[in-house]
Symmetry: none
Subunit: 401 residues, 2 copies
Amino acid sequence: MDIHDLTRSLHEKNDSKIVMLVADGLGGLPITPGGKTELETANTPNLDALAVEGIQGGSIPVLPGISPGSGPGHLGLFGYDPLKYVIGRGALEATGIGFELQQNDVAVRGNYCTLDERGNISDRRAGRIPTEESAPLAEKLREVKIPGAEVFVEPVKEHRFVAVFRGEGLGDRVEDTDPQRSGVPPQAPQPLDDASHKTADVARQFIEQSFQILRGQPKANGLTLRGFAARPNLPSYEEVYGLRAAAIAVYPMYKGLARLVGMSILGKPATLDEEIGLLEQHWKDYDFFFLHFKYTDSTGEDGAFDAKVKKIEEFDAAIPRVRQLQPTVLIVTGDHSTPSYLRSHSWHPVPTLLASDCCRPDPCRQFSESESTRGGLGQFEAKHLMTLALANARRLGKYGA
Amino acid sequence: MDIHDLTRSLHEKNDSKIVMLVADGLGGLPITPGGKTELETANTPNLDALAVEGIQGGSIPVLPGISPGSGPGHLGLFGYDPLKYVIGRGALEATGIGFELQQNDVAVRGNYCTLDERGNISDRRAGRIPTEESAPLAEKLREVKIPGAEVFVEPVKEHRFVAVFRGEGLGDRVEDTDPQRSGVPPQAPQPLDDASHKTADVARQFIEQSFQILRGQPKANGLTLRGFAARPNLPSYEEVYGLRAAAIAVYPMYKGLARLVGMSILGKPATLDEEIGLLEQHWKDYDFFFLHFKYTDSTGEDGAFDAKVKKIEEFDAAIPRVRQLQPTVLIVTGDHSTPSYLRSHSWHPVPTLLASDCCRPDPCRQFSESESTRGGLGQFEAKHLMTLALANARRLGKYGA
């Protein structure tokens, strides 16, 4: 039985407000033996005060030892089992650049490559051409016309782009055309099931016309396609939780992920300050707010311990404005850890705080990795966090008599 | 794989004795910020001494955030996955009043209702007539005679009763007859699968004859039926654990739940004192004893913090007599939390203690919600508790060579 089979039948309506603050990549590691993590180093009076009132624990994004990307990391926090709901590479890439996928779309990640005179790949990444050079190519590729399908091409960074094919009867089970090595030509797109024959044919036409358009380019005179994927079919927050939900985020990836579960996207904030402003402005309109803070992750990925500490302090300083709204349930968490020591996403449990009038406070006195090991939430898989949020908001009825 | 697939093949016999003391609704919440829970407020020298010797943790009845009814709460403690084994409403209602369901029974919950002169429901609960008035109606309804099926009617509180149909070929997939609103007539019982045609027909005859019998009643001149359910098919303690098990409880619901997993029901105790007396008296006859204490739940449901504290102290005072019997494994737990602050069952983990000579004691010095967060059992789903009990009793062999 899926968690949503439970929440779907148990959820109830009331006037409560749930706020989930996600500091991306929040969890960290010490950089010296016996040292403190970024969160433990940061001066966080507001989060610590919340830790005294609330309950703390460690959120395991997927399973112990598994480091998630942004997709599974956020799906888990949203209560969608990240092992059950998989967002294909093409769909995630499209989501990440803010492309609004529709039900009859198939998205695919494209890489420009360099072909030699015999049509073999000599460089799988076209010399990692800079974005200034690759972006105009995406515009040229929009000239491709295919009967029975609309084609969208969007630039991504460097040698990357996204193509979206829109039309009836487009399955997404098509093999990658990237042979994963040079010295051979790109592969033809092969359908992996009956429903994907038309997609493979559309992709073949797209490649043929693109090669004509790119002919003569010094580096990017070819392309490969990877990760054909339809829009993932996720049940909505309204259906599984009975929540009118809104997302507040600066970056397109997080807006896109929130849109996939039916959240409304609020405004176009550029700073944390503007994000909180939107929260205040729309406070009456929604039951649930997801607010995303990016920079705890990006500083971690840069290996910039001190910068991550500063970003955590900036995040902490925003807490009082959120608390002034008096949310029924306030959650502070991350979608995964990004220790600057590792310069990457990691598997470590994410310190997670939940405050409500009935959360059963624990002995924790600070918000930190070490304190969270003795917190009342214990260690839990992220996918259970939304159920706990609903319970604390008294939005779940009793299971069984 | 189900836990029972493991225990079934691994269980071994010996002379050990396992006692599970269930203080219903044991877990609680503080009623003032920074305050103590009921259990933390209570003076519990005997439970605290056991906490020093034993190992402690937090039992999650179903899943994080899910508040269970008594059925799933106890099934979990008995080691039966409460999401896999579901007891239908009618079966639970019959169990709750002590009706011994048999394999070819279908039970259903009945509500008396008031019908207007056109046969439409004007009051779905017949004005919540008092039990003194409704109980004699159940006796009248026993006059119903249906060819091919035996009919039992038992009074419950106020406007409620239970009907049980006994006979060959009675499936339990029949739609409720309660339209869930007034101004319309009760619905006819519709079978939802082929195996339930006869049940729907029996129910139809029951309703027709009942309406004749109730005609002329001022309020309860009609009825609706909800939650058709057969006896749930639960494997027995003897089969899955190799345990001769006995249950000691004051209230019929808990005797009934224990009966469903094949426990013998001991005596008719009216007090905790009498319950412990039965435990002593039958000590040699069983391997496992489930002893149920109700009042920690009922005081919680009443929102009576101080009364719940007193009941916990009463429960604590009974511990020495149990320990004198020298059980191999002694467990103290609850089927769920019932914080007086919430006046209802809740999702919070239940403080749980296990004492045996090989339980690996932890640093806990008191039996309490806060201490249990640093206990050696961690947080665990209730369904794992029986496996731990068997292991500590050396009743489980090694899995794999």
